[in-house]
Amino acid sequence: MPDLEPKNPAVPTDAPTADPARDLQTPLMRMQMGPSHPATHGTVKMVLDLDGERVVKADIQVGYLHRGFEKECETGYYYQNIPYTDRLNYSSPMLNNVGYCLAVEKLMDLRTPPRCDFIRVIAGEISRMSDHYLCLGAMALELAAMTPFLYLLEARELMCDLLDALCGARVTTNYIRIGGVSADLPEGFDRFAAERLDRSLGLLGDADKLLTQNPVFRERVEGTGHLAPETLIAHGVTGPLLRAGGVPYDVRRVQPYLVYGELDFDVPVGEHSDNFDRYLVRLEELRQSRRMIAQCFAKIPAGPVNSDDPRVRWPRKGKVFGRMEELIDQFKLVTEGGLVPPGEVYHAVEGANGELGFYIVSDGTGKPYKCRCRAPSFSNMSALEKMITGGMLADVVPTFDLINMIGGECDR
């Protein structure tokens, strides 16, 4: 903790200047922003040393939502940990489900049926859209723009309707299973989804018209929170933040998983690496997600949605009650979990905020020996200090909002 006594080093103390305002000596003021602040979403404390309205030094303190995700995972079977991953990034839970299940499947060397891969992409992209809507809406609200917030939150509600139709829950989905998904797409889901998605993009268009050309909004976001792409990379920043800096690093493109290799989509990149570009990149990613979902619905094949591998296949309930083998199968799966061969894998997917990786170490039993989540929010937050230092206090709000720190994921 720095001493509050010394004079502000930014203000020269010796040589008197012609400008009397520069000779005014004020001690730094320490301000605590958070952990629960009306202008931030997410529980984080920022201890800011202010010289007037300028941030001289910042100390970001996370951990308010730490609840031992990794310790909890080590004591549960692989299939029991899927609901915990919902709670990592609770605004895009499907992507966490997909990331975790893909990591376990990689460890088991398991192939999922093609229909399942398409469903996972559809569910994941809907989730990503929901996350981006929430991020942009909350940012608009915290910059005092109430109307776009209402539009965007309604758009997010439409995405939640889709998740609801898929799995019966709006936020904590628990839809993806190891080796498949919990249920096939409901009847007529493509028409239902197309209607909701188009309505949500219409709402996005309204918010876009209200924000993008709005001089007040642009004044707040243009040029603020700037950080050079090299610094972003050094901090491990990924996702829309890194792409807004002009680095086209998107895991869906550079290391395609599921069916992303077959889809036609663009990776939007910015060039100024400021808050406005981060906003624009998210805006464009929403439209690209819509494109991807439309292609998935056009290409999705018929067939099973669950793998037939005996390590993960749950026997049919009717047979469990009537036949010995299926009963044993069910009993072993429940009490031992599916046995996963020893080894370690790291599997990355593109989360809504950046590269979401799961590093799983297995000792050959049904429980992970270690289950580590590489959370994009955590690395992104580590760059916040550099983004806000030297800027104005008011710029902290849009910078923090466009990082889109999700406490559940950052603090695990």
Partner: protein, 219 residues
Amino acid sequence: MSAAEETKTPAAAPPEPSALLQRVIARLGTLVAEHQSFRGEDCIHVAREHILDVARALRDSPELGFDLLLDVTCVDYFGQPDGFQNAPETWDRNHHLVRKRAEWRHRVNLPARGDAPRFAVVYHLVSTRLLHRLRVKCRVPEDQPAIASLSALWAGANWLERETFDLYGIRFDGHPDLRRIYLYDEFVGHPLRKDYAKHDEQPLEPYAGPGAQEPRRPH
């Protein structure tokens, strides 16, 4: 069906190193103590004295170009060698014992410890230009859990190493600001170590923040 029947060690992977590993070995030479590929992922083991040299070489050589440090974490091989050859049943028995009576955790029957040190610090690297990934592992002994900090090379290592220190108690020499990041300063122990039971309780700490010295209002 026991786990031992299915056990296939990572060493059973093809002995020919992958193209990336060949480049890494050509660059680092004898600094690579061991290497393996499993499920298409490349991993090298280095001695912890060399981690700074290895990291700098991986970051700065143009043919490797690992510019993005994705993750720093640690694996606690509590009593187990790297390949998990030591009877997973022992672990299951201990899990059951600890679950039944949490305070019996001192009576767990530990398997014989292998020669390898207890902890492994794990780094995940990716190159945003060449788009390849590498995992680097360093074994760190229990009696002296320290390793050189990489925060001078990657600014993002600062927080990741603080997290590893917080949850595993690995000290990072040369770290500019090594304090706990998730837990409070009075927390006793490091919760992700395998000898920290899930239901361990912490001593209650009196509140010491602003206003703690002021007299309490009557109820």
